[in-house]
Every structure is written in structure tokens, then in C-alpha cells.
Subunit: 321 residues, 2 copies
Amino acid sequence: MAVYTDVAAEDLARFLGDYDVGELLSYKGIAEGVENSNFLVHTGAGHFILTLYEKRVAAAELPFFLGLMEHLAGRGLTCPQPVKNKKGGMLGTLAGRPAALVTFLDGMWMRRPAAGHCAAVGEALAMLHLAGADFAMQRPNALSVGSWRALYAQAKGGCDKVHAGLSETIAMELDHLEAAWPRDLPQGVIHADLFPDNVFFLGAKLSGVIDFYFACTDTLAYDVAICLNAWCFETDHSYNVTKGRALLQAYGKVRALSPGERAALPLLARGAALRFLLTRLVDWLAVPAGALVKPKDPFEYFRKLRFHQAVKSAGDYGISA
Amino acid sequence: MAVYTDVAAEDLARFLGDYDVGELLSYKGIAEGVENSNFLVHTGAGHFILTLYEKRVAAAELPFFLGLMEHLAGRGLTCPQPVKNKKGGMLGTLAGRPAALVTFLDGMWMRRPAAGHCAAVGEALAMLHLAGADFAMQRPNALSVGSWRALYAQAKGGCDKVHAGLSETIAMELDHLEAAWPRDLPQGVIHADLFPDNVFFLGAKLSGVIDFYFACTDTLAYDVAICLNAWCFETDHSYNVTKGRALLQAYGKVRALSPGERAALPLLARGAALRFLLTRLVDWLAVPAGALVKPKDPFEYFRKLRFHQAVKSAGDYGISA
């Protein structure tokens, strides 16, 4: 939740002069997104989200993210649609940073998602996977199994201050996942960060999927495993099988999970839990003492990892194995 | 710039059920305001700003602030208008905090105000002073001359780390202002914090005055002095007499400054500079080392104070003394 860069009205008005969106009427920095600066912009043509890409997002990757949003929106997924400027481009420069304008989507993200929301997310995820099948660009997943050992090396020294024995648990898990990670499951475009704050609802109806800045080309079922972690646990870290079943069944109605994908689900869920445990650990340990902004607690994902380690088969997640 | 409190969609929808504003369509935490949490809310009835009052704003004072906004908006000042709930009240409770809904105003605040903007602010300030004349409620200024010695005591120990000799300068200025502070000038409702980020423009036209949470009953010309400090200095801390003249003349066309007010202007400007120097010093010194959020630099107001100390008469600000 951050606005890192302030934008002067005069500069924004000049930037918007390159677009057919009418006159600038207002803009507010919004507390959304962790990596970039986001503004809700009101112009004569309506409401838009303006994103300024801060240094952690590589400019070279922006055409993938923006092209993907355009591709998916064109195939009926309700996601932000990049607005093209008068020259046909989707990327400009503002306040010295790459900047893009996308359409605004109404809807709220669910702080306490119910099983119905989980079903809607499962359905949308499968639609995303199908819609992405003919997207021409590729982007390797920079945060998949091959990157975890380096993250662990970064966090190793501080691990046991967070939780006793955490370092050993991670080391053993890493060895196991690196050896057993499935390489032959269906690949394609995955969202890779489809947490509740990236999915909007109007009532029970899903109204938008946002934040494609972790999207990449990877194992489709791994995206399902990320969602199981993100949507189907309670605040006490217990797995809610009703929510899991709702998510998986709704996904399966749009895109059937193969027997191989089902069999790999416990392993993929362990991997997803470890990936978020590791990045949260790194962020947690990087914050100076006394800072006002607290990163997300890594412990939640340690508990989720423990759950998945005890899972026997996809049946434990709520669908037939 | 902060959102301190997160609000769940379900809770906000329930809160809005007490108002005639239609269905909740979206809401975003916005990076505006220092003391409270602010959200831009879209409902079937339009756009609103929702404010959750954090602990630094006393709940007992909210009826003054909200009543004042309603009073001023009723007299044609373009400021946010509190939305009444179905019971006729302007104050509710959300996420355990007092909360109010006000109308949304289009417009942008000027990072680099020109003389024309300063004139518009002078005119609006005078209109505010006239419109406030028959507002029935009173609120003493908790940050006027009587409070400065206590602020100085808080900052004293760290003063000279910010700037050598700062502590002595403040001590002498305090002695002078406490003895010479004018008590017999016209009083009324003042905004007391009319900085550029609290004034919106659409092009050259002022479209809104916001943030009445420092408003109080005090010397009207002191409010003018605050604006001179906030609007008429350049980024190199030099006074721009063209901007000052524009602000003062525009103010005077709506509400003439009396000879006594003109004569007191240099003293009031010194007081205004000291007030913001002191509160910024206290905030600056209270922030832990390594914090991600930097408060405003107090040094800017030290330089402004130095300027006002050398002023001979209102003539130096650009109007006849």
C-alpha cells in the first residue's frame, strides 16, 4: 500500500494530452499495490487507474504485462484494459518513470471471502488460463522453484529469530521440492498472485481481476495451488475444505484438471506456500527496526506449509484425487 | 499521506446502508490527509470521501468541523458538504472509529502555484471569513500563541541538531511574540491550515477548499498570515512579492483589511512561521531513525521566520501599509 512518487497536476495534464480521454478533473494517490505508485484519475472521459512503475518493476517487462491485460480483456476477462495513447502505444513517461493508464473497474475486494467468492475465483482463474493460451509473449517465472534457494540464502541468517526451527524446515522442504518438482504438467500464462486484494466483487459477482505484475509463463496448476493458499485458509490458519472444494470444482467446470495435475496438487501447494513464506521472510527481515510500515507476517505461510506437508492427496483439498 | 485503518467491504456496505446513497460500487484508500484515514467511495449516487477519524482528532470536536463545512457550503463556499444519514446525523461509526461521509470535489492541488492561484486563494479565504461570521459554534485555536511554549519545550532538546542556533532563535522569538501578540483584531472562523494541498483548482479556477480539521475561532488576519507563508514563498525560500500582492489584494476586495490588521501583519506572519516551525520540529524529532515516512522539513519555516523578522511593514508583503 503505497504512493512512492508524487505527480504534479501540470505534469499529469501534459501526460494525458497524449491520450483521447478529455480534460483532467481530479486524481488521488491510492493505497493499492506494493511495488508501484497508483492514482485514481477522473477525466472528461471517465475514471482510470494511472500506474507509475517504480524501480522494482523492470521496464523491459511492461510490454508483457500490458499486452497480457489487453489480450485477456479482449477475450472477455474482466480485467483492466490498457488505454492506448494517440500514437497507439500503451506506455508513456511521467515523473521520470514508465507510466500506463488502464480502465477503472468497480468492485470491492473481500477481506473475508466466503465459499461463493472462492468458486467465482476458481472459475475466473480457469477462464484466465484458457484465454491466455494463445497469448504470444512468454515470461519465465522469476519466483518459481529455481529461485527459492537464493531467497533462502538471503533469509537464512534471520529465519530462526522469526520462528525457532524455521531454517531447518525450509532447508528440508527445499531439498524435497527441488527434487520432486513436476516439469511435465500443462504450461501457460498464470496470474501468480491472485490474492483476495486482486479480485473485485460486486455483491456475489466477480467484477474484476487486477494486478498482473507477477504474471508469467508457468505450470497452470501451480496457479491453482497459489489460490488454494490465498483463499481457502481461515484467519486461524486452518484449511477450509468447503472453500477449497468450491474453488476447485468451479475451476474444473471451465478447465478440467488432468489426473497428473490433481496428483501434483499437494506438492504444488507446498511450493506455493514456500514461495510466499520465503518472499515474506526476505521482506520482513529487510525492514529496519522502528519503521512505520510493517510487511506481511511470514508465519502465516509457515503454518500453511505445515498443513500441505501432511496432505495425502488432492482429496484432502476437497476434490477426488 | 496515510491510510491507517483498513475497512472491509461488508462493513462499509452496512455503514452506507444508513445513508441514501445507493449501492456501494467501489472504494479506495487515498493518500491524502495526515491525521485521518480517507477513502474515495463510489456508490449508485456518485462519488464521496469517507473519513475515519483516528485518535489524534478528538471526537468531541467533530460536530464543530462537520457543522462548519455544512455552514460554509450552505453559503456558497465550494467545500465538501457532509452527507446526512437517514436519521439526520453527520457522524457514524465504522471500524470502531467516528466516520463521516462528505461530497467529492473535482480539482487538483497546485504543486507550483502561480500568482493567479494565490489571488484565488486570497479571495476564497476572505469569502470563508465572511461566510463564517454567523456560524454559531466556537472552537479555541489549540495551536495559537498560548501553545507555542509547550511545543518549544518538547522540541528544545533536539533543536540544535536540526540547525545550529535554532533553539536560541526560537526562545527569543517566543518572548517577543508572547509580549507583542495582538489581542484586539477582528476574530472569527479561520481555516488555519490553508496550504496548497488543501485547495483544488480546475485550470485557473478554484474548485474547492478542503480539510477543515484545524479550523477554529481566532484572529482573521492570522489566517491571512498563514496563507502568505504557505503560498507566497519560492522553493528557495525567497518571498515572491507578486504572489503576496495578488493574495492580499484579492482578499481585500472581498473583505478589507483594517489599518490595525495591516500593521499587525508582519507580527502575525512571524507567529504563523513559528507555529509551523514548532509543529514540524516536534514531528521531525519524534520519528524513529530508519523510518520509511519522513515528516516535513522544519528548516523551511526557519527561513520564512527569518524573512518576516526583517520585514518593516505590510508594504514589504506587497500592499500599502
